[in-house]
């Protein structure tokens, strides 16, 4: 039976719930504000834990009273929405090289190079809207227990001489088109503008041997379990797989796939954000992060550090054989090329 009194109690109860919801919502909104807190967003997982150890924690120690909030994973779609709604709750964001080019200027604050030391960075990592976070890449990764190992990209595309499944990233701008063209004999300085048709024809020749991966965890699983005999993997995942399985990394030619720090346009804490980026790209945090993860430092001094130099699988030790992705070309052509790639996949 619903009496008058219980109905009244319900009404009061729901009113209180509403008030509670409203006040919590306000509390959530307040998180980004204030000069004593920064929200940093990265890829998450062990990668971000290493950044916390090497970068966020020491920075908090140097600046008592400042708190770094972490969020993950970063996503450029989310960043765009925040900026478009005029309420970015992220202050410093790490994203891959397909974002942060001049074409995406409308969502980003220009980097303040009076705060960040451009000369301390390796060439190419001081962008108008982004600063390199580390040197990463897609590298030829091969099982060493399957007989002859391909040592070049051309051999990677030779399924007769080197049989077995190939793990490749199912993403047009993930380096596979570049790899196909290099295997087909295009020089690394003549890649752009990409001849997409030619690249897809080359991929056709190994089509039945391709195992696609969509997530980095999947790529590691494919190689570590032996499901794929070889693959083009992100360095971090390849070195992880090599810890538990007979897996070798080949640095003969590898394709850049870097991560960059950026500041969303309209961030209320952009000065503090620039200072944090300066710290994160300075030599000590860079060196420590590199030794923790196996990714290369973007800081010149850290990259030249003997401890970093002696690790054969740190990408910054192989700059000479690196094939650099033309991010500006990709920013201008991604829509078109992705359509062609998707159509090719569906054939």
């Amino acid at each position: 039976m619903v009496t008058r009194r219980t109905r009244h109690a319900m009404r009061v109860g729901s009113l209180m719930t509403t008030m509670l919801l409203v006040t919590t919502a306000c509390g959530l909104l307040d998180k980004s504000g204030g000069g004593n807190a920064l929200t940093v967003v990265s890829y998450g997982g062990s990668y971000q834990r290493a950044q916390a150890t090497a970068m966020f924690a020491p920075y908090e120690q140097l600046h008592p009273g400042l708190t770094i909030f972490q969020d993950s994973p970063s996503a450029n779609a989310k960043l765009r929405v925040m900026v478009e709604n005029g309420n970015p709750t992220w202050d410093v964001v790490l994203l891959a090289n397909d974002f942060g080019n001049d074409a995406q200027a409308q969502w980003l604050e220009p980097i303040d190079y009076s705060v960040i030391d451009k000369n301390a960075l390796l060439p190419g990592y001081a962008g108008e809207y982004r600063v390199g976070a580390d040197v990463e890449g897609t590298v030829l990764t091969v099982r060493s227990d399957r007989g002859a190992m391909p040592s070049t990209l051309a051999e990677f595309f030779d399924t007769k001489g080197f049989p077995g499944k190939r793990a490749l990233n199912k993403f047009a701008a993930g380096g596979i088109l570049e790899a196909a063209l290099l295997a087909d004999g295009v020089g690394k300085d003549q890649l752009y503008p990409l001849d997409v048709g030619r690249a897809l024809r080359k991929l056709d020749t190994i089509r039945d041997s391709i195992v696609w991966w969509d997530t980095a965890a999947q790529s590691q699983q494919l190689i570590a379990s032996g499901e794929a005999a070889m693959g083009l993997l992100w360095v971090g995942r390849a070195t992880e797989a090599a810890k538990s399985a007979p897996v070798k990394l080949n640095w003969e030619s590898w394709i850049s796939q870097d991560a960059y720090w950026m500041v969303p346009k309209g961030s209320p804490n952009k000065e503090a954000a620039m200072k944090l980026i300066q710290f994160m790209t300075s030599d000590q945090p860079q060196k420590q992060f590199s030794l923790l993860t196996g990714y290369g430092p973007v800081n010149k001094e850290a990259a030249a550090d003997p401890e970093v130099r002696t690790n054969p699988n740190i990408p910054s030790n192989h700059i000479a054989t690196r094939v650099t992705m033309n991010d500006a070309w990709w920013a201008a052509n991604l829509d078109q090329v992705q359509g062609e790639f998707q159509a090719w996949l569906l054939q």
């Binding site: 009404r11 729901s14 779609a77 701008a173 696609w212 997530t215 999947q218 499901e227 569906l346």
Partner: protein, 286 residues
Amino acid sequence: MALAVETRPPLRSTGFRPGRFFLLAIPAAFLIVFFVSPMVLVALRSGEPGWVASYANILTSEVYLKVLANSFRTALITTVLTVLIGYPYAYATARVTGTLRILLLALVLMPFWSSLLARTFSWLALLQDTGLINQTLIGMGLIDRPLPLVRTQVGVIIAMVHIMLPYFVLPLFAVMVKIDRSLMSAAESLGASAFRRFYRVFLPLSLPGVAAGASLVFILTLGFYITPAILGDPNQAMIGEVIATDLETIGFARASALGIVLLAVTLILFAVFAAARSAYVARSRA
């Protein structure tokens, strides 16, 4: 079905009760803020490059049409298999009592307790060429080369049926336990065989549960993203994968338009389904 409608207790009062509306205001406000308004925003964004251009682009693209067709086909196959496996399971669960019923419900609920990604990777570990199933079969000498269980539609459907079973079994179970057993006894006393009792009495009474569960499974399957991406063949890509890639790389307008097309096609299908259902009900009453 007519019986089910008539046995519902009459409403106590149909008069205006302000309290009831006030209580409804909270869920209504929640739906408006978190469901209706994002939907409207998505619809608005889909027209950013121009309404005609945006939708003509999708509806004339072979790629998108093929992906849409793939999605509906995969969702249909998954739904049919889920119904075929889930119906006997729900029936058994509704027939037994006590510990056995709790055990059966726990088994079907178990997948809910682990993440979708973890389950998908577990299926990968079982189904891949170097996985448990293929290695066991090869070890036993039953097959020479691995069965194509992953990177094919087979793998996607196996995993999706497993993931979807609780969504089908639970609503159906809820309907089945409410079916009045004395109706079955009545049918028996009138001389109906076991098959006839099931086919003419139990099955029609359980159909609302089948419809509820199957529509839930169909809709959820249509939007699947990570499972087909990991276990499937890119040649059979589903719309969720394409929307996700477009959202991250090309931008909101295209992804939103794709979402709206998916929603529209689904609503049309359900309208057809509902019309067919009411035609069937009208005919069986006549």
